[in-house]
């Protein structure tokens, strides 16, 4: 191999790791280039959502299931962490971890009956769970503060430094988001990721090869709920204020939109999907009123034109093209 080939080979086999490093470098420099707190606030929100979207993408994109209720886990994470810190004065990090544990357990209990369902039925069951959680948040005034929510949630702190401005939160949220992104990429490339993809595409065949179909689905569902819970807690401690409006079924659908647009089963696609959907209202100011309609239009357009989403769809398109041209060249 010539030195040039060597470099190319190195880039090829380490492309995932290098891409993550590149992203980390860009994000490290980002606040020094963009000192505007408003813009930082937007990118912070992307980081928070990204954590939940990666989990949901593993569940929808890899395991081929559907959840229209993930905002519920986001909400449980936010309320759990907020209530623990407000009422018991617990360290926010500890509260986050305890909440994630409890949400993991809850999602496990929810998963046992619901993951026996599939398709529309599963969609309805998860949607129902979201409505139940939302109703509790709205109605149980004494605990959840009802429609006005909870205020005065203490911020997270790192090494005695409170994370109370956009710049600090940028570093914290993106550090966590990149860790989750890396873990997601790892899982997707592992044998377990392959097993999940197999479950999504043919359950009978997957089982005949030794894959425990139900167990695989439950595990990935619990992982996605735990990630949503962490994102929710982060959201609560970042904004120090939460109310039920952030955790409705429309937020769940928004999460699914992010997954679908970026690409089912594409971890990088999650980054693109979360970014696009959060940035969109900034470009289209009339957006707020027609938000759900526009989301619907986007999903339908993507599903018709590029059913695997932007990232996976374009990747597949290029891959098949290059294979075909090689095949033609051989003939």
């Amino acid at each position: 191999m010539t030195p040039r080939d060597k470099i190319f080979y190195f880039l090829t086999i380490h492309r995932t790791g290098l891409s993550v490093c590149l992203l980390a470098v860009v994000l490290l420099a980002y606040p020094t280039l963009v000192a505007n707190p408003y813009l930082l606030g937007i990118s912070n929100l992307i980081a928070v959502y990204l954590i939940a979207v990666i989990g949901l993408n593993l569940f929808i994109g890899y395991a081929g299931q559907i959840s229209l209720g993930h905002a519920a886990y986001l909400g449980l994470g936010a309320y759990g962490s907020a209530l623990l810190t407000i009422h018991t004065g617990l360290n926010p990090w500890l509260a986050m971890a305890l909440t994630a544990l409890a949400v993991g357990l809850t999602s496990f209990l929810v998963a046992i009956p619901t993951l026996r369902l599939s398709g529309h039925y599963l969609a309805m069951a998860t949607l129902g769970f979201n409505i139940v959680c939302y109703t509790i948040m709205m109605q149980w005034n004494q605990v959840t503060g009802g429609p006005s929510g909870l205020a005065g949630i203490p911020p997270l702190s790192v090494a005695g430094l409170p994370i109370d401005d956009e710049m600090r939160f940028h570093y914290l949220a993106w550090t966590l988001a990149i860790i989750v992104l890396t873990l997601g990429l790892n899982l997707a490339r592992s044998s377990l990721g392959l097993a999940l993809a197999a479950v999504a595409q043919n359950e009978t065949a997957a089982a005949s090869l030794g894959i425990q179909v139900v167990r695989a689905k439950i595990r990935i569902f619990v992982l996605s709920a735990v990630l949503a819970s962490l994102a929710g807690s982060l959201f609560a401690h970042c904004y120090t204020f939460i109310n039920p409006d952030s955790f409705t079924i429309f937020n769940s659908i928004e999460l699914v939109t992010m997954v679908v647009i970026g690409g089912l089963g594409s971890i990088w696609g999650s980054l693109l999907g979360a970014s696009l959907i959060i940035l969109l209202p900034e470009f289209l100011h009339f957006f707020e009123t027609f938000r759900d309609i526009i989301h619907g239009l986007i999903v339908v357009t993507v599903l018709i034109l590029l059913p695997q989403g932007l990232v996976s769809g374009l990747k597949d398109l290029l891959r098949v093209r290059s294979l075909m041209s090689k095949k033609n060249a051989q003939n």
Binding site: L192, S208, L209
Partner: protein
């Protein structure tokens, strides 16, 4: 090696299998034949665990396996292929074959998330093993192709490769040449003979009589859910009950 003992299966009131018993001997290729609706697929699904028999027992290497869920079969050394192909269309050829190595793959969630060097090393070994299997089937060039762009014959061979990569002791082949042309059929036939030569125990469900006669040591004939004959290929070929089942009563008496 595989003992089928008094298996019955009913769907609603309809009997699909009635007290079927036979053995697959180690290292032998046993063919299961019979007209459409004879219960062949039901029986192979009972052996593979996707259906539970209503009565009867199945032993594999002296272990009772009826009632065990399908995902335990590969761990015992039983692999199968499917009548109408059950590949993962959006995965590549290599990835499809890799799923056949599930019993040897990393099962720990945490280790998969962390992708430690040991896990990577293990995955590299599995990949090499899968590539070697693709080489046996002449699929090396297509390793990175998504299965969905392959020809039907290639897909059949990917499925065989996936079933064989874990090194099973018993292979269940459910109509491996259905829908293939004669050249492709000959290729699969040669592959079955090679596996037989390597000492693998095979249970073959097939309609193609030329293939069945040329590869089997032992043939079991089902008709209407009952076992009507079993024996060596030459015995089956001349057995009047078998001829009757296939050609109808009239042609025998005529």
């Amino acid at each position: 090696m595989l003992k089928i003992d008094g298996i019955s299966k009913h769907f609603g009131g309809l009997p699909a299998l009635e007290e079927v018993s036979f053995n697959c001997r180690e290292g032998m290729t046993t063919a299961l034949i019979g007209p459409n609706g004879a219960g062949k697929s039901t029986l192979i699904n009972c052996i593979a665990g996707s259906l539970f028999p209503d009565a009867g027992v199945i032993h594999f290497q002296n272990q009772r396996i009826d009632g065990l869920p399908p995902h335990q079969r590969p761990y015992l050394g039983i692999s199968r292929t499917f009548q109408n192909l059950a590949l993962f269309p959006r995965l590549t050829v290599l990835e499809n074959v890799l799923t056949g190595l599930t019993p040897e793959a990393e099962q720990s969630f945490v280790k998969s998330l962390l992708r430690l060097p040991a896990t990577r090393h293990r995955e590299r070994l599995l990949r090499l093993k899968a590539m070697a299997m693709l080489d046996n089937f002449g699929l090396t060039d297509k390793a990175r192709w998504p299965v969905s762009i392959l020809s039907y014959g290639d897909r059949k061979r990917v499925e065989m490769a996936r079933a064989l990569v874990s090194g099973p002791r018993l292979l269940l082949l459910d109509e491996p040449v259905a829908g293939l042309n004669s050249a492709e059929t000959a290729r699969i036939g040669a592959e079955i003979r090679r596996l037989h030569g390597a000492g693998l125990t095979i249970l073959l469900v097939e309609h193609d009589m030329d293939l069945v006669m040329s590869v089997s040591d032992h043939i079991v004939v089902l008709d209407g859910g009952r076992l009507i004959a079993s024996g060596a290929p030459e015995e089956i070929r001349t057995n009047p009950r078998v001829i009757e089942a296939y050609l109808g009563r009239m042609s025998v008496t005529a």
